[in-house]
Symmetry: C2
Amino acid sequence: ARQKILLLPGDGIGPEIMEQAVRIIDWLKAERGFDVDLSEDLVGGASLAKHDVPIRDEVIAKAKAADAVLFGSVGDPAWKDVPFDRRPEVAILRLRKELNLYANLRPAKLFDPLLSASALKPDVVRGLDLMIVRETVGGVYFGEPRGIETLPDGTKRGVNTEVYTTAEIERVARVAFDLARLRSGRVCSVEKGNVMESGLLWREVVTDLHKREYSDVTLTHMLADNCAMQLVRDPRQFDVMVTGNLFGDLLSDLASMLTGSLGMLPSATLGTPEGSDRQAALYEPIHGSAPDIAGKGIANPLAQILSLAMMLRYSLDRGADSELIEQAVSNVLASGLRTADIAAAGESRVSTAEMGEAVLKELQKL
Amino acid sequence: ARQKILLLPGDGIGPEIMEQAVRIIDWLKAERGFDVDLSEDLVGGASLAKHDVPIRDEVIAKAKAADAVLFGSVGDPAWKDVPFDRRPEVAILRLRKELNLYANLRPAKLFDPLLSASALKPDVVRGLDLMIVRETVGGVYFGEPRGIETLPDGTKRGVNTEVYTTAEIERVARVAFDLARLRSGRVCSVEKGNVMESGLLWREVVTDLHKREYSDVTLTHMLADNCAMQLVRDPRQFDVMVTGNLFGDLLSDLASMLTGSLGMLPSATLGTPEGSDRQAALYEPIHGSAPDIAGKGIANPLAQILSLAMMLRYSLDRGADSELIEQAVSNVLASGLRTADIAAAGESRVSTAEMGEAVLKELQKL
Ligand SMILES: CC(C)[C@H](C(=O)O)[C@@H](O)C(=O)O
Ligand SMILES: CC(C)[C@H](C(=O)O)[C@@H](O)C(=O)O
């Protein structure tokens, strides 16, 4: 059967970097027999501009029907004054929730030729390769009640609710334990159980599951504040980490910045939509929409291209194509090509399109 | 009038490092006419061991009556199986809440002779000197409802509530703006208003207050995930930062680790108890109770000693004594003395008591 991919470039630098990933898809179609049904739609600021909503129901339906979604980025601050439920970010939040994409896999891997781009000392980060599994459909992102109410004296009160259930914690912890078995066999679970009951439950549930089904894996626990410190002090102590939505948001951004090459890092978000027995998946760069450089043609397309590579392997059963792409990216980096975000002071910089072109040329050689 | 200080060493390394601060106090009494009424009590694990509660009501009352509290640390994991409302951490949480200590000032300052102890490249952190103002009596730490409930099927559900009101946000933002006027005139406010309504309100309230009363200060806003990244990428872009309880917990620990010398950093938590017109204040090291090294006599006492110095300046109007202590600490560091936490590989290490002794000797020379 023809495989279906939905492309959602979004706003900010999303469309520019997606364009380079599409060039790679076109090449795979022409040269590698990639039989794919590609469709594209608007989300985030781009959808707000045309349809007045951050994502249309029909786009959600298309995403559900696809084998995988390749997502760019959303967050254009041009829309910062729209009502809260119409901001660009709602696009990705609704996709995660409605496709039940509960496990966000965020690798922080250092690319050797980019070692000098990190703010950390080479000895602290050399060879860094950790994986954060972040819960993405629960926690304070979605808990009710939520909102802003006006008090009798005219001042306001903002409320959000952090909720986690046994089932929500277990299913994401399973993903982490399974991954650990394929990697180093170590999981560090992160919460703030010394202050929050939801974190206390998190720790209990992970501990129980470990005892019942994963005692071959080494499990440790860490408080989130300590974890933020340990990631800076000695990030290589970690392999797989698992944590809730909000801590995962901060800690995975922190972890990816340690590599010095945020513009290089892909991510996968996996789950199973209600009433479906098929895995759904969304692939997106770890970086955001970078509005400050949007439209300038200087964004790094490699995180988007590597997100495509992840998709080929994990959702489309095209591991060989995935490896080709990763090899091409690695060669391009080794040859010294740099976009602005990964260039050292004084190093010359290529454009988004030139970087995409270079990967394509490498693919043709491989 | 005689000034009243309450000492609360706590558990873990707390008692060991407090002992060194007390030696300094004794010297101030003997040599500098420091007329102080010193009392001491148990909190955290130490109080649990003796009184079966993390803090007694009479200790809260004593703290309210004191001019300032010098706190050590709490968090001994020996008590990890006590009920949630009896864990050691309740001691510090109740003190903050009942004394209404809403503004936690957490400096991240790099000590030049310790530059090499940071995991970051010298060029990224040299001269780092930022101040995080963290809200400490609101947010998800204290919001209701909270707890763990058992669902009909026997599984559980953990809930916490993040709440911020206009008044709570305004008063802590004022502290940040006032501080900025004494420093660089810049404040960065941090929240997650693209996902949480409480963060959206935070941004609104800080923006309004700035417009009304502090337009001479430069105000910027940053999302918490981006902030975690920016603190690693280029921490010197920040001067004063202001944020909620939970983000402040993670970000201030992260920021202090950038300095490579967590064991050196003091903090102050300020507020005004309900029904009082007098400022209350608690001073404590930024580091925790470090149970892994407790009782070994190797903890760094300098954060506790510098917390005393902060107290002398900000609560006891003894600025000259405060400067003496800071000078003594600075001389001791310059002379090359290092506890284990700040020693480079191969450097010789002194004990907690030796470090305290060295500061005392310097004081005698000054
Ligand atoms: C865009 C935003 C809603 C999102 C989040 O907070 O989850 C982003 O920061 C991420 O990490 O994917
Ligand atoms: C001990 C703990 C409750 C506390 C907190 O989370 O506030 C500590 O981490 C801190 O930052 O002072």
